[in-house]
Symmetry: D2
């Protein structure tokens, strides 16, 4: 697809010097990566739905194609013929304005269309995207922005594919591996947590102009940040083990009221994928059950657990603004999907006076509710349902995880989940007041 690169509207050039050919290359690479992530899986693996919150891999493959078909091809590619009229019903996720859809908890029943047909759908859409990009010179910035949105949308589903597969394999009594186990990361003693002070003040929050961002990161605005202190790294498994050993899961005073109710009803006693075998703690990973890494960030904890841990530790979670301020000057890098570790790891770099592991490893629960920024406006039309309609009762997470595609991340990125959800790579970093 690279040769059509030049056809992308120059109006889509971005302030940071990235040009259209890079965009088109990213489109092709993203579509390709999705397939490569699915490659280790059988058709059977790709069809099953681990639970109501998760989706089958095959559904992700189709839905990401449907997204391009619906929002891009039908709109911009003259003469485009939808691949199959029934796919709108099958693969619409939640867009009310686009009509009825397969109920979410029943996505695993879609054994038809077959995987083969879904792959043909992908090819159909990819070819049409190629044609479109070739003609795209006439479409202008709106098209380019939608294509970029499609790329970022697909990256979100790449992460979901991996976490949904992990959920599926963790529910399987054979505890299968997504891939063979690789060499074990070195085990080092857990370094003591260090604290970094931030003066706060009036800070600019939200996406900068020019680069791609989701609507929920806008508008960029001033926020008043009070002085705060942030841990240099996320909470590690070894620290979580202390919390467990200290009765953390049995002490109601450590928990939010709804959190305690959830612990009690669900019988939580440890993070989601921890299993005790013969006195040792294992953790179910994409490489199957593995010994817990004491110095790696804890993952698969809910907001309720993160909040309880912070209270137990005498600290608190940072707000999303504090996090963003601290991350602002950090380079976007670390243990993301491109590292191919597929699990959280101890910090690779040495202490240099700045927060580490801000990006990658684990999404970090913040103290902030997922709400619109001052002056936020929901886009018109179906895409207005993308982020805006979820702005209640969820919690912001920041920083990406070990299965977040690298190009997907940035300091202003806002992820959001319900307080009880645990199947993502979700962990935490502590914050505190400056005394």
């Amino acid at each position: 697809m690279a040769r059509q690169a030049a056809t992308l509207s120059p109006r889509h050039s971005r302030g940071d010097g990235c040009d259209a050919s890079a965009s088109v290359g990213r489109l092709a690479a993203t579509r390709d990566l999705t397939l490569r992530l699915a490659a280790p899986l059988s058709a059977e693996d790709m069809g099953a739905q681990a639970m109501d919150d998760a989706s089958p891999t095959k559904w992700h493959l189709a839905h990401t194609s449907w997204f391009f078909e619906t929002f891009v091809l039908t709109e911009f590619l003259e003469g485009y013929e939808p691949f199959d009229d029934t796919f709108g019903y099958c693969f619409n996720s939640y867009y009310e304005s686009l009509g009825a859809r397969q109920p979410r908890p029943k996505r695993g029943l879609l054994t038809r269309p077959s995987l083969q047909r879904v792959l043909a759908y992908r090819r159909h859409v990819d070819l049409a995207l190629e044609r479109l990009v070739f003609r795209g010179v006439r479409a202008g910035g709106a098209l380019a922005r939608l294509l970029e949105l499609g790329v970022h949308h697909e990256q979100q589903h790449q992460e979901l594919m991996l976490t949904d597969i992990l959920a599926l394999f963790a529910a399987n009594p054979l505890r299968p591996s997504y891939r063979p186990s690789r060499s074990r990361p070195r085990e080092a003693p857990v370094e003591a947590m260090r604290w970094i002070d931030f003066p706060g003040g009036l800070c600019r929050i939200g996406a900068e102009d020019g680069a791609f961002a989701f609507d929920n990161e806008t508008p960029r605005h001033d926020a008043l940040i009070h002085p705060f202190r942030l841990a240099d790294r996320p909470v590690a498994n070894a620290e979580w083990l202390e919390f467990v050993a200290d009765g953390g899961y049995r002490t109601p005073s450590l928990w939010l009221s709804d959190g305690w109710t959830t612990v009690d009803r669900q019988g939580w006693r440890a993070p989601l994928y921890w299993e005790r075998r013969d006195g040792d703690w294992l953790e179910m990973t994409l490489e199957g059950p593995q010994p817990l890494l004491p110095d790696a960030p804890v993952a698969h904890v809910s907001f309720y657990e993160a909040d309880a841990f912070a209270r137990w530790a005498g600290k608190r979670l940072p707000t999303e603004f504090e996090w963003e301020v601290a991350a602002a000057r950090a380079p976007v890098g670390g243990n993301l999907l491109s590292t191919d570790a597929l699990r959280p790891l101890p910090a690779a770099d040495t202490w240099g006076g700045r927060p580490r592991q801000m990006f990658g490893d684990v999404w970090e629960w913040t103290a902030s509710a997922y709400l619109p920024y001052p002056g936020y406006r929901q886009p018109q039309g179906a895409l207005g349902e993308y982020n805006g309609k979820f702005m209640a009762d969820q919690h912001v997470l920041r920083g990406g995880s070990c299965v977040t595609p690298a190009g997907h991340m940035r300091a202003s990125y806002r992820n959001f989940f319900y307080a009880h959800q645990r199947w993502q790579f979700t962990g935490l970093r502590l914050a505190a007041e400056i005394d």
Copy 2:
């Protein structure tokens, strides 16, 4: 496998002259039929679970092999090595005495073991069965009886495989077909229902000695039957349409109390697989959506619906004993799986003064609760869980359906489901008092 036939214990010979070689032939044929029934399905189709009551085809393939492995091979074949230690957990259905198992509603998550591996499991078990049967001459009647039980058990799962696949495809918005549609059965006007009088009296009920039967058909015993009248055929779709048109689903006085609650909560307005399109009624079948056959027996109705229909018609359902008495001298034949119609059809034979379609087409709900016969004793051990532990709160159905293997059926056969269940080929035949 046919050549080992002679090795089956002669003590297992049956009164009807069928000999051991026939038994062994049936074993091989049964195992083979299961695979042939699965043949039109993809690995994806075989992995999905339509709902909690249903199971994936792959699970049926494995469970029926596990049954032979657990109850036959481990017991009788010296040196037999179980294929895989984890399969007991995966493929035990409900035998508490055999340990923990994959929760029933999560059978669809077992993307591993793969279909390929399950097929290897089947081959492994089949080969061991061959070896066993070759040596079987020394094992005597107990083995022969268990082998025969295994055959009948597998036949039950053959029927379930087809009804579970129908449930899966009916939940799919594409409404796929299990096989291409064949020539349409001739459409004839519905013949008026005829009534046959039975004098009743003290009748022998239950399985006769000699032939195979499940424990729940025993012991054979006397029962007092009051004079009754039975319809010559099951209720037809055309008659059900009248019930619908007459407000049957909106008239509480026609319904049992729990039935009305269910109608109200589930929003039932017609049998399970009926769909109205452009003013016409279609029925989802194994050949996809098809026009309703007016003169074919209605299928996929619950006990509650059957009971309400009978009340609407001023009749009642027969007891299981009345049904058995009426069926006693009828030859076991009709539209069973061997006919390969895969859907209920109008009666093929002409009226000859006797009830027609007693076997095949649809299971007929009776007025009888599923309870033990006088003097019933549950077998010892795990097999005691086969039928006995379900003897409460279910309803007896008789006669088999269009997807029941032919050799599986007999007049004394007792099937049982809960009053609200509809995904089997379940219909009804009316009965009445003699005035």
Copy 3:
């Protein structure tokens, strides 16, 4: 009201020589007893609903009056004015043909109409009944039968009032008493269970002509009873303690499949009202928590528990026909409501070669499903909903309990509850085959 007695239709005379004046006396006495049973309760006690299956006392007081108003007064008393037009909605129990009604689980919200107004309603209905009975000579048998039905209906609610109050007080942390504790019944060693053989044969089952009976006891018909053996008394608390100690509640092989699921989900470990305090077992009674009487019949067990106990004991439950045959010649007496013990007691009489405690103490779960008798016809109109519409998925109990009004009981009486229900005084008696 006694002086109007002679006006009751002589056609209602019964074979046992009881005449109309007795009927009228019973009507007055029954209405009066209801009030006396409520007397120990405060308005607060009478308003609360212990759970969905139970009703507030006040509701019982009003519903039994509504029953007379709706089925008797409106029909037979010229110029009768319903007390309050809104009461039909408030106090209709489940008669679909009489229109919408207060949802059953929300009966406890009816703080209005007040108790005072409900008592006025009772007086209004009682006065009208008096007038009616005075004029009743012209109404004939239909009226007399309805009045008698109303009496028996009210007696059913007398029992429910007491069991619902027990449920309410058992859910109260103060464990209040309905009345002060009386002298403790003597404690005697549990007599060994004795067995009585019955030859069976063709037996007449169901209500005899002449005496009052509910429709579900008709028609009287022949049934074939196989020879059986019946215990001379119900299972005692001491025996149930052995079952508990032997792991009865932790052994799946003893249970029906649905029973085990229920034990597991509900965490059952003993009968409903047993409580362990300081190593001793207490039982919540209408006199508050009391030490368990080892030799009294066990009460407040579900059908599932009764069935599991019988299996544990190597016996079975009797069918309702076996029970009825055994009870046929026993006098209707024993520890019924008239005894005023309000809890099951050890047998008062000595062993005389016949079953004891057939009536009173505890309702005895039978092995029989609650189904219509051969030739049963549901009455026309709203009263057809009285018994017929519950004839599925429930289990028959026989014999009455320590809170059943004496005149209410007879050998052919069929009570029915769901297999999981435990708040009635429900126990069991063992049966067995004759070897």
Copy 4:
């Protein structure tokens, strides 16, 4: 109690000049008001629990006394004997650190202790409080603060008592009135909504030192407020009628995702207490069903509905900080409980360039999640459970309602409920950006 006033520690004097005698007077008056609010109710009314979220009046009477007993008397009054050892279990609301308690949904089952005994409990506690206050001179500020907390706690329950009674009476088919209907408020045309601009900037938010405030209003801190526009009054019933007529409840694009799911499942079509009769809209009130007042603020809408309305109107909800800034200089007054209207009314004052009805009438849903303020510290001990443990997944409401006690309200006051809850007097005021 007034004569003991002088004994309250002078250290508790507050900046606004209110002295200890006022505090003590308020204690007595508050305890007295609770009883007066309950006076129109029967013992039956006081015992029933409308739904899981509500509590019986009797429980409120007892719980508010338990609060003083537990946190004040046991701590500060030497020799104080708790009234009844079982009351801790019965009347603890949610304090985990104080032990087990009656499950919340079962508070309506507490027919014992009787109302009479609960009233005796109140007198016992009141007398002890009198003794304590008499000796209080030595107790100092901690006691005074706890007494004041108790007063404010009781005021919260006064409001809940009235809303819970309304819920109870609205669930009653007779739709009873808490009190007779008074003269109908004049009906005036709805004045057009006016908009007031606020410049924002760095503003002080939270409770000022000196006056009583809950912990969740602290610490007072700076917040950055962007310029905004606020409506001069809450949204009126007439405007809500337009929203209904315009299909507001049937248009998914107006709703948050969780809101639409709720609308769909609950079948919402109007505010909680609206009823359509013969083409007219009535509203269930504490005076029974009343014609809707077009110009009164809409009440009993959920956050989801408030948010959807704002979107429909092209506006948004204000943040809690915007609201507080706008309310800061407004006198705390309006249609509060002291007005004794017991329902929202049109604005009494004329337009004067400032927001009206900021206090009273209806609680106003804000766009803000209920979260801790920067630097918030949960108090030690059981009282730490008072507000802190609810700081997730709830939404802030401001301003008080027509049933909020007057002395209870202030500009910094933060109320909080879940997004779906509607039984409080909850409405909304619109906000918007300044273009």
